[in-house]
Symmetry: C2
């Protein structure tokens, strides 16, 4: 909770001022739309008609348009010429690249975290792991998704890799539906939990190489599962409008 939120909005929450965080309508709109896309409420390829969004979110078109620009730069939305914005689609080739980048950045962050984290950071990481394992017990995929996000966030911020976290966080948004699926897959619930515990244990034991290796195995497996899911889905992509 005091842990950082997404880099974007947290600076406002840090101070304890009572009055009125200047969260603008636009920021709220971006959050809502991002959540709607990430959660799959707006599926891949869905057209985002501005005037519909206006009434769905209850804000003016200016706000919607600016929010779309932001999400467009984030890669969550693509704007087709003369047709308007749609939720970005994801093929395996792009997903593969994203997993590859995540692997490199997360391995580096885990290693640096193992090297640099002080006791306070270690405590937060242990706590994040505890909540993560609790989330594995829970049936709610959203809870699990959020817990893994917080777990990784703790690793990145403890390592001081704020820029990398920002990048990974955005990439995660683009593969969020894949992540939700891989996290939910049954084998994954077992091996994923074991692998993530190994990451945390390596960091807590200050073993950078082991942490790096654990991340590598974890993500390689995740990418493998994602590939199967995605190529299966692409095979039957006639009905992927869902």
């Amino acid at each position: 909770m005091w842990g950082k939120h997404t880099d974007m909005e947290n600076e406002k929450l840090a101070d304890l001022r009572i009055d009125h965080v200047p969260q603008t309508l636009r920021e709220i709109a971006v959050e809502r739309m991002r959540a709607a896309i990430v959660s799959g409420y707006f599926p891949s390829g869905r057209r985002l008609v501005e005037r519909n969004l206006v009434e769905q979110l209850g804000v003016s078109r200016s706000v919607i348009r600016e929010a779309i620009r932001y999400l467009e730069a984030e890669g969550l939305v693509e704007v087709l010429p003369r047709s308007g914005p749609v939720v970005a689609t994801l093929d395996w080739e792009r997903a593969r690249q994203i997993y590859d980048i995540r692997l490199r950045l997360e391995a580096a962050a885990a290693a640096d975290c193992a090297r640099l984290a002080d006791d306070a950071a270690r405590g937060r990481l242990a706590e994040a792991l505890r909540q993560l394992e609790q989330a594995f017990e829970s049936a709610d995929p959203q809870v699990l998704y959020d817990a893994t996000t917080r777990f990784y966030q703790e690793i990145f911020t403890s390592a001081g890799h704020h820029v990398a976290w920002d990048i990974v966080h955005r990439l995660n948004g683009r593969i969020s539906r894949l992540r939700a699926l891989t996290l939910a897959s049954t084998d994954r619930r077992v091996s994923g939990q074991a692998r993530m515990r190994r990451i945390a244990e390596a960091i807590l034991a200050r073993e950078p190489e082991a942490a790096e290796q654990a991340v590598r195995e974890h993500l390689t497996e995740a990418a493998h599962i994602a590939r199967q899911l995605l190529e299966k889905a692409e095979g039957a992509k006639v009905r992927d409008v869902s």
Copy 2:
């Protein structure tokens, strides 16, 4: 009657479609503003007053605002609450992280490029190197900057790392003034040229490890120069409010 065209343009000419790049006003505005920031015409910390930009660019406020949202998500602009957008500032800590990410992604791209590039890609890389060396002779820093960008772009795209190139490209925007300074520094003109040639040679010789190592040395040196420049500037930052 038409005879054969080169592979490149043939497919477009085959059908009679009018390609018609739509390029909206907003896109143009984003490009102009990005160029103004990257080139240093809008220095770090400079306020971007919307109504001024309206008359400077000759477009309406809506366009300006949407362009600012895009650049904000890109990290080139930050919006201060109740004060408006300013050109993002850069301290050494952030720059260090950016150089670190670049190092990892560029090393991976160079290695994959050495492994995967076909003859056509090799030819393009050789050509990019040739133009780069020509640019080193030229006195114009902008020419040199563009040539290095194209050189790296060729490496990333030949390796198929499109997502990574997207990320690196944006990161480069954020450290563009630093890059311009490091490229212009006199020792850099010598060693930088030598190191970049080594990168290209390793790729052309299909030696992934050598390419990776060459990138690593190149970027480590660049970061070192950047640090000196930046910390010197920060030391005298009392007067950078301009």
